[in-house]
Symmetry: C2
Subunit: 298 residues, 2 copies
Amino acid sequence: MRDFSADHRWLSINTATLRGAGPLDKIVEACARHGIRAISPWRDQVAGIGIERMAQLIAEHGLALSGYCRGGMFPAMDAAGRRAALDDNRRAVDEARALGAACLVLVVGSLPGALRGAPLSKDLFAARNDVRDGIAATLEYARTAAMPLAIEPLHPMYAADRACVNTMEQALDLCDALDPSRNGALGVEGRDRAALGVAVDVYHVWWDPKLEAQIARAGRERLLAFHVCDWLTPTRDLLEDRGMMGDGVIDIPQIRGWVEAAGFAGYSEVEIFSRDDWWMRPADEVLATCILRHRTVV
Amino acid sequence: MRDFSADHRWLSINTATLRGAGPLDKIVEACARHGIRAISPWRDQVAGIGIERMAQLIAEHGLALSGYCRGGMFPAMDAAGRRAALDDNRRAVDEARALGAACLVLVVGSLPGALRGAPLSKDLFAARNDVRDGIAATLEYARTAAMPLAIEPLHPMYAADRACVNTMEQALDLCDALDPSRNGALGVEGRDRAALGVAVDVYHVWWDPKLEAQIARAGRERLLAFHVCDWLTPTRDLLEDRGMMGDGVIDIPQIRGWVEAAGFAGYSEVEIFSRDDWWMRPADEVLATCILRHRTVV
């Protein structure tokens, strides 16, 4: 297992962690001030400053993109809705490629309408079919753009509104069905990555009794991203009460050990949604804490 | 699948659903007023009026007990803590037997201290070991009392503080390891129930892509209880924001179809924790709604 204690060269900052810090150019500048080598931006934050400006900032600061957030949200009640989702995912692939991201992270979606509190369906099977078909279609496009797609299994508490793929096993079953040969995404810096893999976020998967086995099953080719934060007790909000690494109950080094044993050698990406705590703090304090915790408890 | 539309003879009320309605004798009387044939009481509520009084009320109203809530909470940091948990579980078995419950429901526990917001460990493996050993010891005692034990897999959002058994598959693996012969709990009304089985609560398991298969695997012998409520979008609290059947996104009839196809023919037990909604309403309104929804959407 890699030793992170001496520096933070393998730390990436998911820019949602700094949602309280203003527009994305300010966030990038804060990261650069702290010697952060990699980030993972969200589309809405990129749209806020424009993709050309973002590409310029990335070049200027020599940043790597450990991922791009996010594609997905495939299910819809009708064909027009599903087509619109595919169009949007193609745009996401294009943006990820334009910015040189290592992968496009997929939050696959679930029951149409649920995210705005007005679910139009209770049919998880239909949602899962839309997800499978949506990933298949997007994968075809993503292969031409040499952009790996990373399915992010989300915690089961998001099964209604954000993702109906909720375990590593389920995500890897999809990967094996849609990308059985683990064909690499050609042209992506020559890495031995499958065109379709997973983003492992400890927050979503730490509870899973089959986690170690499924990480081993994923293997180097399908482990496209590794996200860290922590699970607080109590957790006061289903979405925006994630903890800083070390402040919760997740045995992060154990999980990192498993992904590294499977061959993962990329960034540990910090992604913390924290409306009442970390989003309220100055960017410099958040980043200094991320760096400290990365070196001590990740 | 049984037709529930004409009456509510297969409706059971978990008394936590009426936490806002005062002491347990008032709750029992309200249930009796509405022609409820079965309930499932919580130990703290029983303790509030005394077990003799409760036994008297049950006899007086001719009530069945679809379950008794709850045993479990096995993990501890030291041997004394584990022994204390076993003592408490034996008392729970005795109480369940004294009241004639169909099973003792086990919420197995997880990281010691986490429930009071002060986790003493991050070791889920140790917690799972304590759970396995605690169930094994309690099972030995429960067999002598002919009291079936029902492991309730809890939603993964409770993995830190309430239960480190979070899927049907995991619960059934435990059942198969500890009660491989599915030996019945002799003396319990001659039913073909295993000594160790599961309580299937739709709230905890609805999201699981393997649910149908695992319900089939459980079969009649291990399906000891079936709990219903609903998953609201949004869900505003991790513990106390469950919905009334029909108000959320769970396809309850589909899941009931699966458990009945596997041979389950017992009560549909309504268990709703709802601090800001149902617990604020009069017991008669809550019960009338439970009955209506039982007949229409369960």
